[in-house]
């Protein structure tokens, strides 16, 4: 009887098309495997597949997917440069929060009675968000460059600090809580106009007023932030492939030793790269706040956009253009989850498990980019 052996070999040459092909196959395999979860809870996997097919074929759902994906575009683009230089910034989440905090400042001032021309709100919020995120990201960069403190730990821990800072700001009695008497005059009047009232004990700021929300792209429901994300992706692509900065980032990522020997100033480079990274994550926070959340609350942490950015950046293999597409894919999966809960009345956990399985398969797929598996007929 012939014995069949499985042999794993390292691929010596990886073609350019292979990673994309493997990602697509992995995603399909993940979707098929996700159907098993439905079997376990006593439903037909076909129902799940039907929803996937529907979301990916319905323009309206796809539009929703793009919308959900926008913050992830920012948080994943933020990681292109740091990851290329092997600086593992896990702090996108905190930089995202800080961006939202920065963006909130003019809004808070507005409700407190300080007026600016309406047209200036969006640019000022964006600039403050960028600065807040950027400066927040400098801390782990400096600690790493100066004392070799592990950036994974510091950037991660700073996420919690930023989140607690939001708690402090928005909790009842906090300076930014919507019930703060400073907002009383203007904000209460506004709420009355809308026919609503403040919720006692609510942990959150007042609303972002209409004029401080980015407009939607005409004819769609998508925020114009998408255009900003695409412009940033193109700039990031240009920076990483065509500039001195991108080159030095590659050199450091390949060998810190060789870069030191080539006279590349690590401190300077890491500060620039992390500032850019924090700026982009911070802008993500601004977009999320001003077009989706509309109030700064600790709920900003619920979707974990900063963490999703890590996976998205990784799946796009640090290609900025791919970051946009992968983020939309993330959005589509979230849509799938929503739709499943809505139409199939299925537990939240099943739909999240479904998404998780797809990601697991995508990550596993990476193995096949570097290795080939062959079946060998033995004697």
């Amino acid at each position: 009887m012939p014995r069949i052996k499985i042999k794993v070999e390292r691929r010596l040459i990886v073609s350019k098309k292979l990673p994309a092909l493997i990602s697509i196959i992995s995603a399909i395999a993940g979707i098929l495997a996700g159907g098993l979860l439905f079997l376990i809870v006593g439903r037909s996997p076909l129902e799940a597949y039907a929803i996937v097919a529907e979301v990916f074929s319905d323009p309206k759902s796809l539009m929703g997917a793009v919308e959900i994906g926008i913050p992830i575009m920012f948080t994943s683009l933020a990681l292109v440069l740091p990851f290329r230089m092997a600086f593992f910034n896990i702090g996108g989440e905190g930089q995202f929060y800080m961006g939202a905090i920065g963006a909130m400042i003019p809004v808070i001032l507005y409700w407190g009675g300080v007026d600016l021309p309406h047209g200036l709100y969006l640019p000022i919020m964006a600039i403050l968000a960028a600065l807040f995120g950027g400066v927040w990201a400098l801390v782990p960069a400096f600690l790493r460059a100066k004392w070799k403190v592990n950036e994974i730990l510091t950037s991660l821990m700073m996420n919690f600090i930023a989140w607690q800072f939001i708690w402090y700001l928005v909790s009842p009695g906090g300076p930014w809580n919507e019930a703060n008497p400073a907002f009383k005059e203007r904000y209460l009047a506004y709420l009355k106009e809308q026919g609503v009232s403040i919720i006692p004990g609510f942990k959150g700021t007042p609303l972002v007023p209409e004029f401080a929300r980015p407009p939607v792209i005409p004819g769609t429901t998508i925020s114009s932030a998408l255009i900003l994300a695409i412009i940033i992706a193109i700039i990031m692509y240009f920076i990483s492939t065509r500039t001195l900065l991108g080159y030095e980032v590659r050199v450091v990522g390949e060998s810190e030793l060789a870069s030191r020997y080539a006279g590349i100033n690590y401190m300077r480079l890491v500060l620039i790269v992390m500032f850019i990274s924090g700026v982009l994550a911070g802008l993500g926070g601004f977009i999320n706040l001003s077009s989706d959340l509309l109030k700064l609350t600790p709920e900003i942490a619920a979707p974990g956009y900063g963490y999703a950015g890590i996976i998205a950046a990784w799946l796009s293999r640090l290609n900025p253009i791919a970051c946009i597409l992968v983020a939309v894919f993330f959005g589509a999966l979230t849509q799938v989850g929503y739709t499943m809960q809505q139409y199939l009345r299925i537990s939240h956990f099943v739909s999240v498990g479904f998404e998780g399985l797809i990601f697991l398969f995508l990550v596993l797929g990476d193995f096949f980019i570097h290795y080939r598996v062959r079946l060998i007929r033995g004697e």
Partner: protein
């Protein structure tokens, strides 16, 4: 049915191995090993030696061909199979757990030493083997405490513990001092007397001639022939290996440039090693334009730290480094190379190059901030960059399909050419060459040496750190000898003798610096 004599313990018949991308690493190679012989496998880097041995050891599967072990046709699909057939491999880069002891490394994975390790028994057996073959080893020492020579013995014992009677040694002398090499050869000869059969992979002609019973030469994946050392000369072997005549003596011109002003002055320099002990002790010397100062010494005597201090990669504890009249003792690597200092580092892969980046990315390193390679200090000017890279590739004869392939695809010799191409751009005034020919084949070694002489004749000051006395004598104008971090003296090359330098290297002789 192939009839195989009893003496033939290994027969590789018509082995073919093609790698993806179409490189034929082994093209119908037939190789046999007799009981109790040392069979040299000689060839340049990339000739297919290691591939052939990896096939025998089960790491690669041949496309076609047959393997016979002790007269029986076998299939070896993993190292486990190879070990079962009594084959042991001592890899070029040791695979030992550095924080574990010798015993622990040797019995790692051996079932008969049990879940609760039978350490005492293993220790006794290790000491027996050491005595039998005439080397010394402390079974309780941690690997990191051992010299490279000692680590090699650990790998050999590991193979013997797995009952190997066919030993493959892959370039075993690359990391050894001359003394350690001599000792290893004695051990191998004793093993031969015991009836062990040994395959000795090398590219060093002298070693193959002095140690082996037969020598098989490979070139570009093909077998050139099998010879016995008494029938061939070094020149014949080199010709078989390289495919053309090789010069062993490089003609060196009289030193023409007589400069009074030194390029480099080192004064009372003290430098620490990574472990925090003094590696360079109170060293002072000067180097002048148009000369090669050879620094001889056993590897690890402080030469590497000295070179790193000059290149700005290691801060000295005290003393002075003056380049072209400027005190650069605490300057950054960038300040130093901007004074036109080239550095050819010991570690070509991790320090000297960026393995996963393309040739052009490697070639512009250190020049990448300069016009016209970069516009306005921001944007890369690809037209100029590719022109620059193509010119370097051509000038230094780097063998690669194009400038876009990653540097890791280059052979050792071509990688060194790449580093030379980058470092010698812009006609440096001082060149620090640290073990520039280590691990290179004959052709590449010859090339590197010629380039260093060319640079000297152009007027550059060259510091050549080497462990090969041949090389030091061939190239140097003056020879400085370092022992245990101290400078034992500097001798003009024409007055030096190998004996004298050897004594100084061992610390037994000290000469007044001239």
């Amino acid at each position: 049915m192939t009839i195989i004599s009893e003496d033939t313990v290994v027969l590789l018949k018509d082995i073919v191995k093609t790698f993806p991308g179409g490189v034929v690493a082994n093209d119908h190679i037939t190789f046999d090993l007799k009981r109790g012989e040392i069979h040299g496998l000689l060839g340049e880097n990339g000739a297919g030696k290691t591939t052939l041995m990896n096939i025998l050891y089960g790491l690669y599967k041949p496309d076609s061909g047959e393997i016979y072990i002790k007269g029986r046709k076998v299939k070896i699909s993993s190292p486990k199979d190879a070990i079962k057939h009594g084959i042991g491999l001592v890899p070029q880069h040791f695979k030992l757990v550095e924080v574990h002891t010798v015993i622990e490394n040797i019995i790692l994975g051996l079932k008969e030493y049990g879940f609760v390790l039978r350490v005492k028994e293993a220790e006794k057996k290790i000491l027996e083997l050491a005595e039998k073959y005439g080397f010394r080893i402390d079974p309780k020492a941690k690997i990191w405490q051992l010299s490279m020579g000692e680590r090699q013995y650990v790998e050999i014992i590991k193979a013997l513990f797995r009952k190997a009677d066919i030993l493959i040694l892959d370039e075993p002398t690359t990391v050894l001092t001359p003394q350690e090499t001599k000792q290893l050869f004695n051990v191998l000869r004793k093993m031969r007397e015991e009836g062990k059969s040994i395959i000795f992979i090398t590219h060093k002609l002298d070693e193959a001639l002095s140690l082996c019973d037969r020598i098989t030469v490979l070139r570009k994946g093909k077998k050139v022939g099998t010879v016995t050392p008494d029938k061939v000369t070094k020149v014949d072997l080199a010709k078989m290996m390289v495919g053309r005549e090789v010069l062993f003596k490089i003609s060196k011109e009289e030193k023409k440039i007589k400069a009074k002003e030194p390029i480099l002055i080192i004064e009372d320099l003290n430098v620490l090693s990574d472990k925090g002990v003094l590696a360079v002790k109170n060293i002072s010397f000067k180097v002048y334009p148009g000369e090669i100062l050879g620094i001889a010494g056993i590897a690890g005597s402080g030469q590497e730290e000295l070179a790193e201090a000059i290149a700005g990669l290691r801060k000295p504890v005290s003393g002075k480094i003056i380049i072209k009249g400027r005190d650069v003792t605490n300057a950054s690597p960038k300040d130093i190379y901007e004074l036109k200092v080239a550095y050819i580092p010991e570690d070509r892969v991790r320090v000297g190059s960026l393995p996963n980046l393309s040739l052009w990315e490697n070639l512009i390193l250190k020049h990448h901030r300069k016009e016209p390679l970069v516009k306005n200090k921001i944007i890369l000017n690809f037209k100029e960059i590719f022109k620059f890279a193509e010119e370097r590739k051509k000038e230094f004869d780097i063998m690669a399909p194009n400038i876009y392939v990653p540097a890791r695809t280059l052979s050792g010799g071509n990688l060194q050419k790449l580093i030379l191409a980058r470092e010698l751009t812009g006609n440096p005034d001082l060149i620090l060459a640290v073990y520039p020919t280590r691990g290179l084949d004959v052709g590449a070694t010859e090339y590197v040496r010629k380039i260093l002489l060319r640079e000297r004749d152009r007027g550059a000051a060259v510091i050549l750190i080497s462990e090969e006395l041949d090389e030091i004598f061939q190239l140097s104008d003056r020879i400085a000898v370092i022992h245990n971090g101290e400078l034992m003296g500097i001798v003009p090359a024409e007055q030096a003798t190998i004996e004298e330098i050897g004594l100084m290297m061992g610390g037994a002789l000290r000469k007044q610096s001239s």
